[in-house]
Amino acid sequence: MPPTGSKRPFSGSGSGPHRTGPRPQSHNPQQLQQPAPTGPYISMFTEFRNELDEHQDRRERIIKASRDITAASKKIIFSLQRLRPTTLPLTTSLPQNINNEILQYESKIQDLLASIIPDLQGLDGPRWQRQISPGLQEYIEAIGFRHYLLKRKVMEWEEADWYVSGLHGDEILGRKKKSEEVKEDVEMIDVVSTQPIETSSTAEGGSEKKEEEKKDLKGIQLTKEDYVLGLYDMTGEMMRFAITSVATTPLAQLLGAAKDSADGKAVSTPQCLLQDLRTLQSAFEGLDVGFTAFGKDADKKLRVMQDSVKKVEYAFYGMVVRGSERPEGWVADFDAGGSGGGGGDNE
């Protein structure tokens, strides 16, 4: 676009009073000097630019959300690692203090997920899959680990998918749905207002409309690939948890199975963890992942996992070999958090 006629006289008259002094270096005259690009393809490329910018902005929002979800998920994992259960699965729910920590991070994650739902609709879901997937994997790792500690089971894909969809934050966090809050407010107005019927009907109509718009949006899709890769990472957390557990379990209980049960079933928490790690290892080893990008990722993580299992096995070995030299009943004092494992204790 060439400089418009209306701007020139304005800048001219504007500089009038300052003629004696140095010319004020306003940005306007300089901009006027550079002509807008002209040519047969300018309008076409301007459209392209707008479209590419839109994609780029969306991409950046998603990457940012993914990074924040990763950070919050890591914090959930740290909180879980502070647990000191004597049994697996935990016989009670998570201790209050740890649960509160987790809730705080999880609400952040759910808000982030909800915030990018509009950016991941239709074509854009698979398009930005690679950008969101690190965050989703980390979240799967965190909630998968929690699920395991509470139920001693591997979280199923359907449940994991429900968690990452970004649509169920209210249920997950046990908070009230926004629409319900609005309705309560409306009832309050009803009492005060002189024209209760009109206000309530408009307010309700508005909230319903918003709900409908929300319903049209599909939640974030969890791919099987991200699910599996998240579970791989979870085994690393099980390993860390098992090592701590080995170190903090009295020797007599640690090797409970060998003495107490003839069928070799795991008894102590560390034994449960080792057994489950081995079960998972054999399940993962049986997976034929192919040679796609996912296959390469999965192969790498499988090797990490095999190392994790070995680490736990060595921890057991160390306890058996050197543990007998310890004084009777001696336990490494790891429990800096104090009441960390208190909730699960039953002795």
Binding site: L123, G256, A266, V267, Q275, D276, T279, L280, N346
Partner: protein, 252 residues
């Protein structure tokens, strides 16, 4: 007592169905990829045939260009047919799930069309062939028989990025053509190319590209612009072209 508690979930720790399902999905994914790759092989073949015909443009005078272009026609049709097959498979799945597999081939296909179009391959029969036309993304899609730059529905299409890549290919090819046209004694075509490439360059400069292949390649357009300007300068210096003519594009 404790033994009971700890053992309660051992047997069902993993539902074997989980891994069976994942395996099924992985197998399906690999099968689709193989199927698509099979089609890409024939797309590649058509593309090579088209390129081998069009590359002779550097060696033939403009007068025999019409015959050259029509000899590429059958390959364009084959390409169209293969693309239809690819469309049928690809549209069954989310577009961006597999788009990275075929994006190079689609760039090449789009390039074939924009090059042929620039040379005047698609001028209506009742008009005289004219060089220097930019095929829009929509026109490229029509020639290839595929949708373009789809935003709403999740179907197979030529993406904007793929089209832009093919325009950069076109610029590179026209740079070479500018040089070779001079050798063939055609001093007007470089003028036409110069203006066309400068216009496209102005367009590309409007884009805010992120740091990716498209960005790197579009940054290199300026070298092509310079090369073409050197050709024009050489001609002007020796008074082989009439500078005032430079605004009158057609070389025929």
């Amino acid at each position: 007592m404790m033994a009971d508690l700890t053992n309660q979930a051992v047997d069902g720790m993993i539902d074997p169905e989980i891994f069976k399902q994942v395996q099924t999905d992985i197998d399906e994914d690999i099968k689709v990829r193989d199927e698509i790759r099979g089609l890409l092989k024939s797309l590649d073949k058509h593309d090579r045939s088209i390129q081998s015909v069009l590359s002779r443009v550097h060696a033939v005078p403009a007068s025999s260009l019409a015959a050259l272009l029509s000899s590429a026609q059958p390959f364009f049709e084959q390409q169209r047919d293969t693309l239809k097959e690819l469309d049928a498979i690809a549209s069954k799945y989310p577009y961006y799930k597999y788009n990275s597999i075929w994006t190079r081939e689609l760039q090449a296909a789009s390039y074939g069309i924009v090059l042929a179009g620039w040379l005047g391959a698609f001028t209506p029969e009742n008009e005289e062939r004219k060089e220097g036309r930019l095929m829009t993304i929509k026109e490229v899609g029509e020639k290839l028989g595929v949708s373009v730059n789809v935003r709403e529905t999740d179907v197979f299409h030529l993406s904007l990025e793929e089209y832009l890549h093919s325009l950069i290919n076109l610029i590179e090819e026209l740079t070479r053509l500018a040089v070779n046209s001079v050798t063939l004694g055609d001093y007007q075509r470089p003028m036409l190319i110069s203006k066309f490439v400068k216009d496209l360059h102005a367009g590309f400069q409007l884009l805010n590209l992120k740091n990716d292949a498209l960005r790197r390649r579009s940054d290199s357009i300026k070298y092509n612009v310079k090369k073409i300007e050197d050709v024009v300068y050489d001609l002007a210096l020796r008074k082989l072209i009439n500078q005032t003519d430079s605004q009158a594009p057609p070389s025929q």
